[in-house]
């Protein structure tokens, strides 16, 4: 029935236009504004579901493709489409946004319409980034989504929000301008080689490039994406941004925005500059392992729950970048590429899983923060006594964060460790330390916050979750469990695209 609809465009523009509508209602704190926002996010979620149900997992090519000329002088097109790599990330976005809208329901009382509008517009822009098949369109979405995030932290954030927003903005912006230069270079290079310039991503994937430009392009991409992931040492904006952001902002930031970095690596760096990726894979692997180990240690001593989870996010995202860049080392070590797909798909699963788990972790902190107005671990203790239902979920998500089998947190880490062993024993060794360190920082926090005698009067007066909070928790818990117990369906949609990617990057792009 809907087969003729530009489904993907609808998924991108419904929240953006819906967000504009919400903005237009003015700033009064009314239930209508919230209902409208929720409705928009639900419609978007509903619209995104056919992307999964009508998706043909046997195809590696782009599906739900749309192409409308935009700036024809420079061959820039409104060109969108999804494959097995972007589709799950889009569904994650539409799902998490609904949760975030619900999370802000009673909590936000200041400029309510603007708050919800910002999230809806942000949702559309993020989906646009995942769906863009034109590099310039990608760049526009990529930069545009900084604005609502900037606003979210800057207006609804904590005491030190100005420092955090500026840091966030400059860091990410610095990263992406170099990417823009690379895109322009490739446009002109394509004009030289093919007679006509292009920003079409699929064309850029095929564009032959010499080693030097590849290296430079790779490094510019690395900077752009590493900031977003974030990778060590360009990660220090994230803890600050998380600490200052409102709960909803933290959830979106951790659950989706970080994934844009990972997505960039798999959509741009690997296929556009495979030879440079091969030459510099050690760099990404090194930075990933530093992220996993170094950041794990740093997370351990954090006194602020949000900072701790932020560092934990960086550490977990290390598995994504590690998994993505194992291909060449595996081939070098074992003589076959078997295991490369495992690493790439492990990284993908890790992104999806981290979306749910980190989102749930930040929501948990939000539930506590709304009651006690503190993020400091020392202000808590014995929460289980007064909030048993909350404690159950908190322990569950903590275990998921520690990668317990049966939760989604295990799947990606497991696959990447398996793949890493094939590349080099020591990669796996260092990556697997997360089993210990990850459990240590997570459970130590749980011990100090959740368990024990009631620490003070405020904890004694805590009320357990209400229906709204319970709903968010249970939905996320189900997602975490389902992916943990039966990840096969999620992986099936990726196979064709990932296989295609591996086939692509194993062929040199250096001109003969």
């Amino acid at each position: 029935m809907f087969s003729n609809l530009p489904l993907l465009s609808l998924v991108i523009w419904t929240p953006i236009i819906g967000g504009m509508l919400v903005l237009a209602t003015g700033s009064k704190n009314s239930i209508e504004v919230k209902v409208l926002s929720l409705l928009v996010s639900l419609v978007t979620l509903a619209l995104s579901i056919p992307l999964y149900t009508q998706f043909d997992p046997s195809l590696a090519s782009m599906q739900f493709e749309e192409l409308i000329p935009w700036i024809s002088n420079f061959h820039i097109n409104y060109h969108i489409g999804v494959d097995g790599i972007s589709m799950p990330l889009i569904l994650l976005t539409t799902f998490i946004t609904v949760i975030v809208i619900i999370a802000g329901w009673e909590v936000i009382t200041f400029k309510v319409a603007q708050y919800f509008a910002a999230f809806l517009i942000l949702e559309g822009l993020m989906i646009g980034t995942f769906a863009a098949m034109d590099a310039m369109l990608f760049y526009v979405f990529w930069e545009a989504l900084l604005i609502p995030m900037f606003v979210i932290i800057g207006i609804w954030g904590g005491a030190n929000r100005v420092y955090a927003t500026i840091k966030f903005f400059l860091y990410t912006f610095l990263g992406s301008v170099f990417m823009l230069i690379s895109l322009l270079y490739m446009y002109m290079h394509a004009a030289e080689v093919n007679g006509v310039g292009t920003f079409n991503l699929l064309e850029l994937h095929k564009l032959p490039l010499d080693m030097t430009p590849q290296i430079l392009i790779f490094l510019s991409f690395l900077l752009a994406f590493a900031v977003k992931v974030p990778m060590w040492p360009v990660h220090t904006w994230l803890p600050d941004a998380h600490v200052e952001a409102p709960t909803g902002g933290s959830v979106i930031l951790a659950a989706i925005m970080l994934k844009l970095g990972g997505y960039g690596f798999i959509r741009f760096s690997l296929p556009i500059t495979p030879d440079a990726s091969m030459a510099l894979d050690w760099l990404v692997i090194l930075l990933s392992l530093i992220a996993i180990v170094y950041i794990g240690f740093v997370a351990l001593i954090q006194a602020d729950m949000k900072k701790l989870i932020a560092y934990s996010s960086i550490s977990h995202m290390g598995f994504v970048t590690l998994g993505f860049f194992l291909f060449w080392k595996i081939t070098e070590n074992t003589g076959s590429a078997s295991g490369a797909v495992l690493g790439l798909e492990g990284g993908m699963i890790q992104m999806i899983s981290h979306g749910f788990i980190s989102g749930a972790m930040f929501l948990s902190v939000g539930v506590l923060y709304d009651r006690m107005h503190s993020r400091m671990i020392k202000d808590y203790g014995g929460v289980v006594n007064t909030m048993p239902a909350f404690a159950t979920f908190a322990v569950f998500f903590a275990m998921a964060n520690a990668g317990l089998p049966g939760t989604s947190g295990f799947v990606g880490e497991f696959m990447v460790i398996m793949a890493a062993f094939k590349a080099n024993f020591w990669y796996a060794f260092l990556a697997a330390t997360t089993l210990i360190i990850g459990a240590a920082y997570t459970l130590w926090m749980v011990k100090r916050v959740i368990f024990g005698e009631i620490a003070n009067e405020q904890v004694e007066n805590l009320e357990d979750m209400n229906g709204r909070e319970f709903f968010m928790m249970i939905v996320l818990a189900i997602a975490v469990l389902v992916i943990g117990l039966y990840p096969a369906p999620l992986l099936e949609v990726m196979h064709a695209s990932i296989d295609n990617l591996v086939a692509h990057i194993s062929i040199s792009k250096l001109p003969m």
Binding site: M418, A439, A488
Partner: protein
């Protein structure tokens, strides 16, 4: 095995029955009565126990085919299928019976033990969940699911050790247990990754059948030095076993796990979960047999654990901790058997130990109930006349533990000692003497505990003594039911399990390592084993242990204090548990936090943020401040600058 149901349905029912009970009691916690909670969970475990008996009968006596089927495909990636599936053979069916029986006894016992506890229903939910997880572990047909079960039992152990979540010591102990186990799992998952690298599958059957072909594969861990891949894999896998089965130096969590309620100390931290490592190595005998280095490593670790953890049992005064150290020591015995390639003996001891150690723990719990939750044995004494059933069952458990001829423990422990004696793997001499001395130590601390608690002077306060009575039937019935196998199961099964063909299709032993095959030639049935046992060294050592215990704690009760004073340095070493806890606390934990602080303060805050990020922001500000000075607003300054510029321009154009 049942006409109308396929085997797979029966196996699924075994696994799912306790899971359903657990979920029911967990989710409806607030809405159901205590009676409903325990009825549902006990029904679940009861069903699985009955089915397990059928499965056992089917496999042990009716020569059923080994069942090896997939339940569902967890995921497929890179052409590798990761599955959830069941492998049911003689080893599995024996483990199923042991686990379900002990679990059922513990469920029953809990009705009495936890009667007053506000977390009653939660407790039942947890122990049923544990039972499910343990089934998944022992029924697995692949490494992945093994790891699932492995971590799941660890999770439930974590939840149960921290069951009294208000108690600081309990929530410290559960975190410690989880983290120490994670150190083991760290090795374990690397071992699994190694298996995947070599075999490209995690399915047991495929891996084991291909194992021999990969025996010569090597890996370069340090450039230029080749290691046998099998040795690396086996040692990594065994590190996992060291965590779960509490082998030195990863044993530190087990004594602390006694913070949990006594029923789970019996079920999880004595009878079942801690034996998972033993089970795992046995299951993987086709791999371990390929690496004598790994076997030697196992042998030595096991011997150290068996002997040195036994010593610690002698000086403990907490009734549960004495039993906990004896568990450590006995796990060491099992590990030694593994190292000597006597896998069947290890599993045999695992089985007998499960019964008598669960019995000893539950009896200790019965004493604790009687004593109103006093656990210090120095406040007990003469309990025999107040708690006769607990007394007699404890005696049975103790005799089984010390290996008194005729009791279950005798057969399994003596076999291990003989097997190690016959082994020629490096380290077997050390292991032999360790387990031999261990016999004396075991008898000493076991009888010490027994005499101090049940005999001698009544040291409890007046109030306690007034209320001292035998525990209710739900508590003593499991004791009696566990006492029966503690006496008879060893003699009943040794001929087939150890010297028969029970493990023929399960355990693989290389000809050169086959110590049990060697012992088999001298084996003429359980009765002659007793006769032979009475004249052997272990028996004399055991008897010596009993006599010394009697002399020290019955005859001259003031003597131990004097000995303690004379040998105070030794006492200090034992009392500080060889310093493992202090080392972990002061070096490992503090060091980790120190590294974290260093990286955070120095790396993140000072270098990255301070110098690079804010530093560049500041230098921009500084530079612009400098430049700003030029913009004075005076016209003659600008005019001067223009003239300078003009001269410069002229200079360039002219030359």
């Amino acid at each position: 095995m049942f006409e109308n149901y396929s085997d797979s349905q029966v196996y699924l029912a075994i696994v799912l029955a306790p899971l359903i009970g657990s979920i029911f009691a967990g989710i409806f916690n607030a809405y159901i009565s205590k009676a409903v909670a325990h009825t549902v969970t006990i029904a679940g475990v009861g069903i699985s126990f009955i089915l397990a008996l059928f499965v056992f009968e089917y496999h042990a006596f009716n020569d059923a085919q080994i069942y090896n089927e997939t339940v569902y495909t967890w995921l497929v990636s890179d052409g590798i299928r990761f599955e959830v599936g069941f492998l049911v053979d003689n080893l599995t069916s024996m483990m199923l019976v042991v686990v379900s029986f002990v679990s059922l006894m513990v469920h029953l016992y809990t009705i009495g033990y936890m009667q007053e506890d506000p977390g009653y229903k939660r407790f039942f939910s947890y122990i049923s969940l544990f039972t499910f997880s343990m089934y998944m572990l022992v029924m697995s047909n692949n490494f992945l699911q093994l790891f699932f079960g492995w971590e799941a039992v660890g999770l439930v152990s974590y939840l149960l050790i921290g069951f009294y979540y208000k108690k600081e010591s309990a929530i410290f102990a559960n975190m410690k247990a989880f983290l120490v186990n994670r150190v083991g799992d760290f090795g374990f998952i690397l071992g699994i990754a190694g298996v995947l690298m070599v075999f490209n599958t995690l399915d047991y059957a495929d891996v084991f059948s291909a194992a021999a072909a990969h025996a010569d594969q090597t890996i370069e861990l340090i450039p230029g030095k080749e290691w046998s891949m099998m040795t690396v894999i086996c040692i990594l896998l065994f590190i996992g076993a060291m965590g779960k089965s509490a082998q030195v130096p990863l044993h530190v969590w087990l004594p602390d796990s006694m913070e949990g309620p006594t029923p789970i100390s019996a079920l999880i931290h004595a009878a079942t979960m801690v034996t998972a490592g033993i089970f795992m190595v046995t299951r993987m005998s086709p791999l371990f047999e390929l690496s004598e280095t790994a076997l030697s490593f196992i042998l030595v670790i096991g011997a150290i654990t068996a002997l040195f953890m036994g010593f610690l049992g002698i000086i403990q005064n907490d009734i549960k901790r004495v039993v906990a150290y004896s568990t450590l020591s006995q796990l060491g015995y099992m590990t030694v058997a593994l190292g000597a390639s006597a896998y069947s003996a290890a599993v045999f001891h695992l089985m007998t130990h499960a019964f008598f150690k669960a019995l000893l723990f539950l009896a200790a719990g019965s004493v604790i109930i009687g004593m109103h939750h006093v656990q210090d044995i120095r406040q007990m004494g003469g309990l025999k006349k107040y708690m006769p059933i607990t007394y007699w069952t404890s005696l049975i458990g103790t005799l089984a533990l010390i290996g008194f001829p005729g009791f279950s423990g005798f057969y399994s422990k003596d076999s291990i000692i003989e097997a190690v004696h016959a082994s020629s793997i490096a380290g077997s001499d050390f292991a032999y003497y360790s387990v031999l001395i261990g016999v004396f130590i075991t008898a000493l601390y076991s009888l010490r505990l027994f005499f101090i608690v049940f005999h001698g002077e009544e040291r409890m306060d007046h109030h306690t003594k007034e209320h001292l009575k035998e525990s209710p039937w739900v508590v003593w019935l499991p004791l009696v039911l566990l006492a029966i196998p503690s006496v008879i199961i060893g003699g009943m099964t040794i001929s087939s399990v150890l010297y028969g063909d029970y493990f023929n299709n399960v355990v693989y032993v290389q000809q050169a390592h086959d110590v049990l095959g060697h012992l088999k030639e001298d084996y003429h049935g359980p009765f002659s084993m007793i006769l032979h046992g009475i004249s052997s060294a272990p028996f004399l050592l055991m008897a010596a242990g009993i006599v010394v215990a009697w002399f020290l704690y019955m005859k001259n009760p003031e003597l131990p204090a004097k000995i303690k004073n004379i040998f105070s340095p030794i006492y200090y070493v034992l009392d500080s548990k060889y310093g493992f806890d202090a080392f972990n606390e002061k070096v490992i934990a503090a060091g980790t936090r120190g590294i974290g602080n260093l990286l955070s303060k120095f790396g993140d805050i000072l270098i990255i943020d301070g110098i690079i990020v804010n530093g560049s922001a500041k230098s921009v500000a500084w530079f612009s401040g400098l430049i700003r000075n030029i913009q004075t607003g005076y016209l003659y300054h600008y005019a001067f600058a223009m003239i300078l510029g003009l001269i410069g321009l002229l200079y360039i154009t002219v030359y």
